[in-house]
C-alpha cells in the first residue's frame, strides 16, 4: 500500500500529505477578542495536519503505541484507525490584556504556538 501511494504521488495523483506543521494565522480581532487583548492583534499559531501512515518517519517522534497502531492500521484499515497527527512541542507567546478589573496585565501563555507535529 505504501509503495502504491508513493507511486501515485509521483504521477501527480492528489493524496493527503504526511503529518506536518501547517500555517494557522490567528487574528484576535476576527475572533472578537480585541476588546480585551491589547497586543498582539494576531500571531502565527500553526496547526498539525496530515496522515500518520506506515512507515512512520522518525522525525515524527511516534510513541510506541502510535507505531503499533500504525502497523495495525496498515494491515487492516477497517479494524484500526491511523494514529493522530498532533502537536508534540508547543511554545508560549506574550499577551498584553485587560483583566476583569480593568487592569492591564502582561501574561506569558503556554502552549500557544505549534513548534513540532508528530504521530501519537
Amino acid at each position: 500500500t505504501a509503495l502504491s501511494n508513493r507511486h501515485g504521488k509521483r504521477h501527480g495523483k492528489k493524496s493527503k500529505s504526511r503529518c506536518s506543521k501547517k500555517a494557522l494565522h490567528v487574528n484576535f480581532k476576527e475572533l472578537g477578542w480585541d476588546d480585551w487583548i491589547i497586543a498582539p492583534l494576531d500571531y502565527e499559531a500553526y496547526h498539525c495536519e496530515g496522515l500518520c501512515d506506515f512507515p512512520l518517519r522518525s522525525h515524527l517522534e511516534p510513541t510506541n503505541h502510535a507505531i503499533i497502531q500504525t502497523l495495525m492500521n496498515s494491515m487492516d484499515p477497517n479494524s484500526t484507525p491511523p494514529s493522530c497527527c498532533v502537536p508534540t512541542k508547543l511554545s508560549p507567546i506574550s499577551i498584553l490584556y485587560i483583566d476583569s478589573g480593568n487592569n492591564v496585565v502582561y501574561k506569558q501563555y503556554e502552549d500557544m504556538v505549534v513548534e513540532q507535529c508528530g504521530c501519537r
Binding site: A39, V105, Y106
Partner: protein, 271 residues
C-alpha cells in the same frame, strides 16, 4: 469597532492570507452586524476600552519579552521579571484632596481584588511619576528623602533620595512594596491596598510638602498616574478560558438585566 489593541510592529506577519475558516452564523461579518445593530452593546464595548490606557511601562514589558520570546529566550529568565510569568498593573485610585494645603502625606490606593490566590506572588513595586516641580524657587535645591509606608503603620517599606538640583527632569520613582505582601495574607483577601508617601529634607525627620518635590496628583493624565506592579507566577498551566470566564462574570454584574438579553446571545455566539 475601534480597536483597543496596540499594533506590534514586530508581530509575525507570515501567511497573511491564511484565515480561520468561519462559516454561517459564526462568521466575523455576522458578528459585526450584531454589534452594529446593538447600540447599547457597542457603547459598553467602547466604554470598557476607553477606560483603560496601558501605561508605557506595561507596553515596554510586553515589547521586550515578546521580542525575547521570538529569539527563543524565556522572558521569565529576565532579572526584571523576577521569574514571573504574569505582571499586573493596578492604577492608583487615590486623590489629593487638599488643593492649597501642604501635602505632607500622600495616600496611594489600589484595588487588588483581581489578584488570584492561585498564583504565587514573587514581587511588587510602586511606580510614581514625579513631575519637575513647577516652582523651583520654593523648592530649595539639595537632597530630599521620600519614604513609603503602609497606611496603617509607620513601618518603612522603602525609601529613595532625590537630588532636586540634579533631578529637574520628570521621571518615575520606583519603590519596592514587596514588604506589604510578605508575612501577611494574600492580597486578594483584602481588596484594597493602601500605602502612603512622605517626603523629608535630607536625612532629617522634617517633613516637606510633596508638591514641592513634584508629586502633586492634580491634573495628571492616565499615563502619569502611579501604578502598582505585581509580579506573579502561575502554579499550574492556565488556559485562556480562565480569562474569558472572568470577563463574562465581570460584565454580567456590570450590565443591567434589561440590556443583557441580546448581549448575552451575541457574546455566546462570539465565544
Amino acid at each position: 469597532f475601534q480597536s483597543a489593541a496596540l499594533i506590534s510592529s514586530s508581530a509575525p506577519r507570515r501567511n497573511r492570507g491564511t484565515r480561520i475558516p468561519y462559516d454561517g452564523p459564526r462568521s466575523p461579518k455576522f458578528l459585526k452586524e450584531i454589534f452594529a445593530s446593538s447600540p447599547s452593546l457597542s457603547r459598553h464595548r467602547d466604554e470598557f476600552k476607553d477606560a483603560v490606557v496601558p501605561h508605557d511601562y506595561m507596553i515596554s514589558i510586553y515589547r521586550t519579552y515578546s521580542a525575547a520570546e521570538k529569539l527563543g529566550i524565556n522572558a521569565s529568565f529576565f532579572r526584571s521579571s523576577k521569574s514571573a510569568n504574569t505582571i499586573t498593573s493596578f492604577v492608583d485610585r487615590g486623590k489629593d484632596d487638599l488643593l492649597h494645603s501642604p501635602l505632607r502625606r500622600q495616600k496611594y490606593l489600589f484595588d487588588v481584588s483581581t489578584l488570584s490566590d492561585k498564583e504565587e506572588l514573587v514581587g511588587a513595586e510602586l511606580r510614581i511619576f514625579r513631575k519637575a516641580p513647577g516652582d523651583f524657587q520654593a523648592s530649595q535645591p539639595g537632597l530630599y528623602g521620600i519614604h513609603l509606608l503602609p497606611c496603617r503603620s509607620e513601618r518603612l517599606l522603602d525609601s529613595r533620595t532625590i537630588d532636586l538640583q540634579e533631578s529637574r527632569k520628570p521621571g518615575w520613582e520606583v519603590l519596592d512594596v514587596w514588604g506589604m505582601f510578605k508575612n501577611r495574607h494574600h492580597p486578594s483577601q483584602e481588596n484594597q491596598l493602601c500605602v502612603q508617601l512622605r517626603g523629608t529634607i535630607g536625612k532629617s525627620e522634617t517633613e516637606i510638602d510633596l508638591k514641592q518635590l513634584g508629586f502633586d496628583r492634580n491634573g495628571r493624565s492616565q499615563q502619569e498616574k502611579a501604578i502598582l506592579v505585581v509580579y506573579t507566577r502561575s502554579r499550574k498551566r492556565e488556559n485562556l478560558f480562565n480569562e474569558m470566564k472572568e470577563k463574562i462574570k465581570s460584565r454580567g454584574s456590570r450590565w443591567s438585566e434589561e440590556e443583557s438579553g441580546l448581549q448575552f446571545k451575541a457574546r455566546r455566539r462570539r465565544r
